[in-house]
């Protein structure tokens, strides 16, 4: 004979409440989300990424040409040198002006007083070139669907 165990009403309520609690707990996921950009150089990278990507999108030959020029861009030490390199290549002339606009837009803000006052210093120039190059590489990677584009 099979014995049927009867649970008390209190046990049933506790059991149901536990299930509900577990379901509620499952609803909350760990919050990650993007962190706001704070510094001048990371903001430059974000703006440059969008600018380069927008100018190269739907144009694979231009993307290939740009990728081929990256090593020579990497040899530059100042923003002016980098922009001269870029504007020296006819298809990227306009892109050079647009990147300069991105930088000037960010640079004129009061919170970037340090970078503005020390704009010609080797330290600022080195970081600026590095920020622009990071944006260029990120844009290419995003267009080519690479993991670095994230």
């Amino acid at each position: 004979m099979i014995s049927r165990k009867r649970h008390s009403p209190i046990f049933r309520i506790v059991f149901l409440l536990s299930i509900l609690l577990i379901l509620t707990a499952c609803e909350t996921s760990p919050e990650i989300g993007p962190e706001p950009l704070a510094g001048f150089f990371e903001k430059v990278t974000a703006l440059v990424t969008t600018t380069v990507r927008g100018q190269l999108r739907d144009n694979p030959p231009k993307q290939t040409l740009f990728a081929a020029q990256l090593p020579s861009f990497e040899k530059t030490a100042t923003m002016n040198q980098l922009m001269d390199e870029l504007k020296g290549i006819d298809p990227f002339k306009n892109l050079g002006y647009l990147i300069e606009m991105d930088i000037m837009f960010e640079l004129q803000k009061p919170e970037h007083h340090y970078e503005r006052s020390n704009f010609n210093s080797s330290e600022v120039q080195r970081q600026l070139v590095s920020a622009i190059l990071a944006g260029m590489k990120k844009a290419l990677s995003q267009l080519q669907g690479g993991k670095d584009g994230k």
């Binding site: 379901l23 609803e27 909350t28 996921s29 919050e31 990650i32 989300g33 993007p34 962190e35 706001p36 950009l37 990371e42 903001k43 430059v44 974000a46 703006l47 969008t50 990507r53 927008g54 999108r57 647009l98 606009m101 991105d102 837009f105 960010e106 803000k109 919170e111 995003q142 669907g145 994230k150």
Partner: protein
Amino acid sequence: MANKRALVLSGGGAKGAFTAGVVKYLMVELGLNFDLVVGTSTGALIAPLVASQDIANLIHFYENVQQQDILTDRPDLLAFLFSDALNDTKPLERLITKFFGDRKRYQKLLQSSTEMFVTVVNMQTGEIEYGNQHQDSKPILLKKILASACVPVMMPPVKIGRYQYVDGGVKEIAPFGKAIDEGATHIISVILSPDAGHREPVRKEFTSSMEILKRTLALLTDEIVDNDLKIAMVYSEAIRYLDHIKANAKEKLGLPDSQIRKLFTGIENPFQGKRVVGITTIRPDEELMESSLNFDPDKMREMVDKGYKKAKEVVSQEIAQGTGFFEPV
């Protein structure tokens, strides 16, 4: 009276990435500043970043945010039975605090010369209300930004005092009305759906009640945004028409100003003190995406680039037409 340039940002969830591209073109490349920015829903998340000229963070936000950063699913049956919405917006609330609540960033918003408004609908009174950086305290403004993005049923209403608030898009998706009331003379509006002539029919049968609800909301949204734009256009045309009549009365009939003014006394003039408003509309040529909650990073980046390109195209057209709203670059 000085000219006042306003930016009106409509709702549209993830499609806000298109607006980010538009704003980057207008503010970074064209160097435009706005006296006023009014945003609804996703536009309310963009408005504070426009007012504080933080375009890098605006782009960064839309290119990196994912659906779980905005809302978390609640099991549908449980949500219907025990709560006020199908999704939980705690992640979005935390994101808003992170992006706008930070002391330095909030200070920048307070010091901005751009007046910012976000639209919300009061569930109890049914009226549209606004959040503003100078009229509201920080906690209230942050709550209103959240409420403005909360599509009813999909997302819970936000309690402020004894009232519950939801997405301003319930009544006004493209908030032209506020911009006009605040004295805008040129409005640049960003609308996140194509005009009626470019909308594609949906070629599938809707089988679940959720699908039908979503499609209904999409249809209502299109209707509201069409009406928002139509009303603003008619309003502007009406003022222009009245100005023409006044000019004709003076030039062709030789009436002095005092006589012309008499023609308008004794009747209520709904356009008293208002000026002609120029409207520039920037919107995509085709549907950007099927679901406005699809935060796919590749798609978002594509929309940013589309917005930038479209803004450039519209501005070039207006320069060629000589509307006088934009200076040649």
